[in-house]
Every structure is written in structure tokens, then in C-alpha cells.
Amino acid sequence: MPRKTLKIKSKVEYLSILDGKGKVDESLDPKLDPEFAIYIYRLMVVARRLDERCINMQRQGRIGTYGPCRGQEAAHCASTVVMDADDWVIHAFREPGSFYHRGWPLETVLKFWGGYEEGCEPPEGVNDTPIAVPIATQTLHAMGIAWGMKLRGKNNAVLCYCGEGGTSEGDFHEAMNFAGVYHLPVVFLIQNNQWAISVPRDKQTASETIAQKALAYGFDGLQLDGNDPLSVYVGTKEAVDRAKSGGGPSLIEAVTYRLGVHTTADDPTKYRKQAEVEKWEKLDPIPRFEKYLIQRGMLDKKKVEAIEKSVLAEVAAAVDRYEASRIVDPLDCFDHLFSEMTPELKEQRAEFEAALKREGLAVDVPKNNEREKSRVGNNGNAAPCRRVQAPSTAGA
């Protein structure tokens, strides 16, 4: 009868382990195995250097518009490493480190932004979805895959990336709602980078946190320092472990900042102040983690330099492979629409082929028939992926 504040079962927490000043909460430190900690650090460096290279290549006209991840390396690199090979990772479009970690060749990112569908082709055995351009639409696929896992009785989970702008889309709410209703093993990780092109976080939603949106759907939300790889790792690991042990979905808000442009077609000085960017530069996840690793004796100047060198070499090799793979056959736009080409498409393909020959645009690309054959049919329950193997984890 009386008026009272209702107690809601689900909760919203905040987590910060390694803060912007380099201070560590010792009680929360997952005390990662050194090899694994350095692996995460290197992964972040890979994302950063690839990012820089992509921006340069866009300016040189070697790829098209590019959406950089600068500043958000911890949010995606320290979360994707939690997932097992037979789990699924559902990407948005600012997670180059995750693609690399999961075993996608580094040049895949260049191919996508360079205008080649091949940038969406998961390597054999890798259970991830490619970049999803339409905002938040991928959250529903994550939910559906987690639903499949539950129906099949598999002990797996799905990690799904989305931006804070995406939380205004209906698809995000529908995915959260279904995930809650069916208690699905999915973790939605929102990279709250404060800006959806020109729209700031506080114009995106009146919610005090993005994390609290979980409460409406009957599960827990966690806001964490998205520029702290330790918080990202611990928060994601807990959520994924919970999902795998039947604890249902989670929402994680990784608070971070897009230090760069939305895409190379964007000029952020039109809508945000330099002082704000400078404030966040000081919170950059890479120097923060580097300092932590050096303080713990896991890393030193020499090792940092060696990592830097090997990453730059790897990026350069990926650029070479990208450049070498740029000759593609325009005719193959017909080849993958259906499992078997329809008569009407065969007819159009012949028309296109004749036009290309007439116009001197026909391309002779050697076809690997065996490779094509192996792709017929669906590949849902694929074999374990050949991702870059993370060393075994400790702590958390």
C-alpha cells in the first residue's frame, strides 16, 4: 500500500583498477600473467599503429574513408582476449585489434576500408562477424547467435561491440530485451567514446549512465574505465564467465574517448573543443598500461622498442599484402549472392562480362576452385578458429 522505492534485483556497478594517474587498486588488480599482459599491450600497439597507417593511406588515396580507433584500444583489445576460439565476437567498426587477435589477417581491415568485400571475409574457422556499418544492427545478430548457443546447449558466449550512439537505436533495445527474456549468453560491450560524429553523449541519452539501461531488461550493468585495460579485462571476463555458467546477459559501458576523427571525412573541430581532447589525451590507455607494466618489471624500454619494431614490420607487411591483393575481378559480384547462381543472374553476368571486355576492363584473376568449393553451404558450427593464441590467463 504505501509509496516506496522499489528494490530492483539487477544492479549497476562502476569499476576502475588502474586509474589515469597510474595508481592501482591492489585488491582489484587481476595480476595478469606477464606474458598475457604484454600480449594485450602489444595488441593495443598493433591497433594504434595500424590505425595511424590507415589514416596516412587514406590521405594518400590508397584506401577510402577510414574510421579510426585511437584512444579506444584498451576498450576493445582487453575485452576480445577474453573470448575462446569457439565463442563468437560480433564487431561494429572500430575494433581493428579484435580482428587481428581473432585471427583475421591484418590486411583485412585495409581491404574493408579500401573498398573490397574481401575485408568482410572471415578466415576459415573464425566465428566472428565482419564490420557492421549500420549502427547497432549487429546487436541482434549477437543475440541470435547466443540464442543458438543456448538452444544447442553449448557452453559458449558472444561478445558484441557497439557504440554509445548505437544505444539510441531500436535494435539495441530489442537485442537487450530478447537477451534478458531468454537469459542468453551474450555480453554487450558499449564503447562510450563520448561522440557519435557530432552528437555528444549527453545529447544521446538522458540516462546518467549507459550501463543502467541493463536494469530495464532485467540484468546487470557495469560501467568501467574503458581506458584501463585491467578494468576492461576483469569486467569482460566476469561477464563472459557468468554468461557461460548460465548467468545470462550483461551490459558493459566502457567509458573511453575517440581521440581522432569519426572518420577521415569528418572535422571534429566543428563540434568539440581542443581542450576536451587534450584532457583525454592524458588518459590515453597505451602509455598508462606501458607505465604499469614497466613499474611491475614486466616491460622495459628495450622491450618496448622491440615490440614497436616488430609491430611496425607486421603492419608494413600487411600493407604490402593488401597492395598485392588489390587486383580483383569485378565480375565476381555475381558469384556469392546465392549458393547457386540463378538463371537471371547468369544472364546479367554474361552482359557485364561482355561490357568489361568491350571496355578493356576485364581482369584475369586466377581462380582457386578448391577454395571456392569449400565455401558452399553454411558454416555455422565451424571448427575451432585459428586465432592468434593468447597465452593462458591468470588471476581475475
Partner: protein, 326 residues
Amino acid sequence: MALMNMVGALNLALDDALRSDDSVVLLGQDIGLDEGVFRVTAHLLKRYGENRVIDTPLAEGAIVGGAIGMALYGLKPVAEMQFSGFAYQGFHQVEQHMSRFRNRTRGRFGVPMVIRMPYGGGIRAVEHHSESREAIYAHTPGLFMVIPSTPRNARALLLASIRSPEPIIFYEPKAVYRAFKEEVPEEPETMELGKAQVVREGSDLTMISYGAMMRPTLEAAVDLADREKASIEVIDLLTVSPLDTETITNSVSKTGRAVIIHEGPRKCGIGAEVVARIVEKSLMYLEAPIRRVTGFDVQFPYFAREQAFLPNADRIGHAAREVLAF
């Protein structure tokens, strides 16, 4: 053989699919406990349980997007949109993902799934429950668009669609659901997708239609034969995308005359595409201009006006007489 209406035949196809393939999952609003608002999913929840026949919350986007996820994972989802008029809340998932996944992943991930939805007018339904928008799906690359017209072909086409590796929109003519019965074999039967059928042979004029409009079309063909001794060939498209150009142009090359009938809007409709293909392939065989008897390019009227609005045998017969007399 058993005599059944289209609702029973569709139910039989779903039963066949669930029984023969444990990756088949049905999902939709009110399809379980309520057995579907048209009862197409009758008995299936009891027979196969709530992990195979799933009542969902009310969100078309999540039904389609979730089904895409299930298909990526290796299940065979059969999603139901309660009415085609509400499929637009999920249409972005159809256009942006369901139709594209196979191509953009270069064949690595297909999305073998079926979205069933009742379409069309004639059952005195409220606004948004009577439209025919097959052309939108036919215009979307990467999809199959299947529309049965009788109980037997509905069962065979639905079973074939569920067993197909392609992403398929399956439009069910709800005006036909309980309109008549037909003998349907008890053993599972399928039909090849992408193939039209000549359902009546003739030599003077070809009528081309599909779905609920097959009934007035056949009625007009019989009437013309009876009263005017005209020999009318009738083609049931069955799959409107991809379109079976060969069956259409073979027939029109023989008869030299064609009338196309559908209830969806005329502009950029399936009829427009059929006319284009006839003109491209069989122009020199034509004896008369082609006519289209279709819904007009206006909103489908509320049901007080729908019987007047829907194409009928008189209108089809009138168009055919004009073409024959040209």
C-alpha cells in the same frame, strides 16, 4: 493424400520440417500457445516444445535479426511476421544483413532462413493488414521471394524454402488460407524454387499471375473459354524473384498476347518486370499491347472499399477481351 486447406498444408510443411531436421526452429509472435493468429502453427508447440516453437516478444526487428544470428550459428530459423504490414520494423535487417551476408563474406556465411508472412486483401482486416508489397523484396538483391497459390503448392514450396540454403521471403495469400481445399500428399513433397508453372494450357493469350490472384485469373480464363471459345494459357509464377523468364517468354512467344494480374501496386510492380522481360525477349511475337490488371498506385483502401478495389475476374476478362480484339 488428404484434403486440406492452405492453413493445414502450411502446418503440414512446418511439421515435416521440424520432424526431419532438428536445426529447424520456428519463432514469432503468438505462434506457440496461441498457435498463430491464423493457426498455421497449430499443435507444433505441443509436439516439438518451446525450444523449437518459440513465442517471442513483440519486436519484428529482433525476430528477423535474431533469426539471422541463429542462421549464422547453423540453425534453420523460420520466422513468422504476423502480418506483412508489420514486417517493415524488421525490413532494415532484411535489406542490410539477411540479403547481404553471403555476398559480403564472399560465401563464407550464408543465412539460410525463411520469413513467412501473410499478405494481401480480401479478409475485412484493419488498416496495415491487407497490403501486397512483394515488389519491395523482389527489388532487393540477394533474396528469394516465394508466393504459393494453393494448399498443395504452399506445402511443397514452404518445405522447399526451409530446406533451401538461400534467404527466403515466403508470402502467404491469407485470402486463400481457408478459401478452398485440395488433395495434399501425406509424404513430404517439395517443388523447385524459381520455377513458374503453366497451370492451364492455351494458344490465344497468356495470363500471368501468382498468389491470391490466381483464383480470379483462372475464373476469367475459364469464362473466356466457355463464352468466347478463347484458348487461354495461365502461368502461376510461384517464385516472383528470381523470375522464371523462360516459362513466361516461351508462352508469350506462342500466344502473342499477355495479361498480367497482381493485387500489389502497378508502378514498379512484378507486372512491370514481367512486361519488360517479354518486351526484351519476345517483342517480335507480340500481336497486341500487354495489359496489367493490378492494384492501383494508391494506399490499399480500408476494408469497406476493398472488394471494389481488388482485381476480379470481370476486370481480368475485360482486359483479356481487349487484348484479344486488338
